[in-house]
């Protein structure tokens, strides 16, 4: 059962990730990303992290993909006559991706991996909270501060252009 689920989610994730890359239409690419996320959330559940799967769906599918779709609609980027890719670019991209896979696979094949426990207790929200508020207290504060800075940055970015347009 777990094997079937792994194969299903893995194929779903990789196939829709390919859809993101090869699709001409940006809206279809965003929907491919959404399906890929659902597959990935399923894999997280198989890895005994249902809470992370939930957070992933909440943050990515709920916020990030919706934001992408919103911007696509806002900008109206109809795919015009696109220049064909140079053969060199395609070849170099394929070579780079292939080298990446080969490198990581050979690394995992040769690495001495620790003996995995067959079963673990599923981490609950309490376990995560204990870690986040003891060991990782400083990173949590830093990330919160970074979110504040990002929010300010977005405001400044969109305000500056309004001022220059108003000055004309």
């Amino acid at each position: 059962m777990a094997d079937t689920l792994f194969i299903t989610f893995a194929v779903l994730t990789v196939a829709s990730a390919l859809l993101v890359v090869v699709n001409r239409n940006a809206v279809n690419a965003a929907l491919g990303l959404l399906i890929s996320l659902i597959g990935l959330a399923g894999l997280f559940v198989l890895l005994d992290a249902p809470l992370l799967a939930f957070v992933l769906l909440l943050v990515y599918a709920g916020a990030v993909v919706a934001l992408f779709l919103f911007i696509i609609m806002l900008l109206d980027t109809t795919p015009g006559a696109q220049k064909p890719y140079k053969k060199m670019t395609v070849a170099a991209s394929l070579l780079g991706a292939g080298l990446l896979i080969t490198g990581i696979v050979s690394l995992t094949e040769r690495a001495v991996l620790p003996h995995a426990p067959a079963t673990i207790a599923v981490p609950t929200l309490k376990n995560y909270a204990e870690q986040l508020f003891t060991t990782y207290l400083l990173p949590v504060q830093v990330v919160g501060f970074m979110l504040l800075i990002a929010m300010l940055g977005v405001i400044v970015l969109s305000k500056k252009f309004n001022q220059t347009e108003g000055a004309k």
Binding site: A2, V21, S36, V45, L47, G96, V122, P123, S158
Partner: protein, 124 residues
């Protein structure tokens, strides 16, 4: 209850959530391979696509691939650190998307295009 638990991980999580017992032939190398393939697809997309928004989506794919590797390592080492780190990655990714899309919108207002081949004003 135990008969129901044997149905699979999803059912077991819904019903019990304490100690899962299911044998899986796919271990850490399978998950790492999948993560590598996802990362390579994202990398390929970043190199190949011309639309800035799609390049951004491919960047997100690469981030997600690294997330999968972290969760897999965390699960098969029996520790929680990797999973906690995923929280930080998700936060950073959300902030990055917000700022990046704001930059893209500002760029579109100025240049009326988001194709990378037409955004070459710094070259000349």
């Amino acid at each position: 209850m135990t008969a129901l638990l044997n149905h699979g991980p999803l059912m077991a999580i819904i019903l019990d959530g304490e100690n899962l017992r299911y044998p899986s032939t796919y271990g850490l190398p399978s998950y790492l391979l999948l993560s590598a393939v996802l990362f390579a697809i994202g990398f390929f997309g970043v190199l190949l696509r011309k639309n800035t928004l799609v390049i951004y989506m491919c960047l997100e794919l690469m981030l997600l691939a690294s997330t999968l590797a972290l969760v897999a390592f965390s699960r098969f080492n029996g520790t929680l650190d990797g999973s906690v780190f995923v929280f930080f990655i998700l936060t950073i990714a959300a902030a990055e998307v917000a700022v990046g899309l704001a930059i893209i919108v500002a760029l579109f207002r100025r240049r009326h295009t988001i194709q990378v081949e037409e955004l070459n004003h710094l070259k000349h």
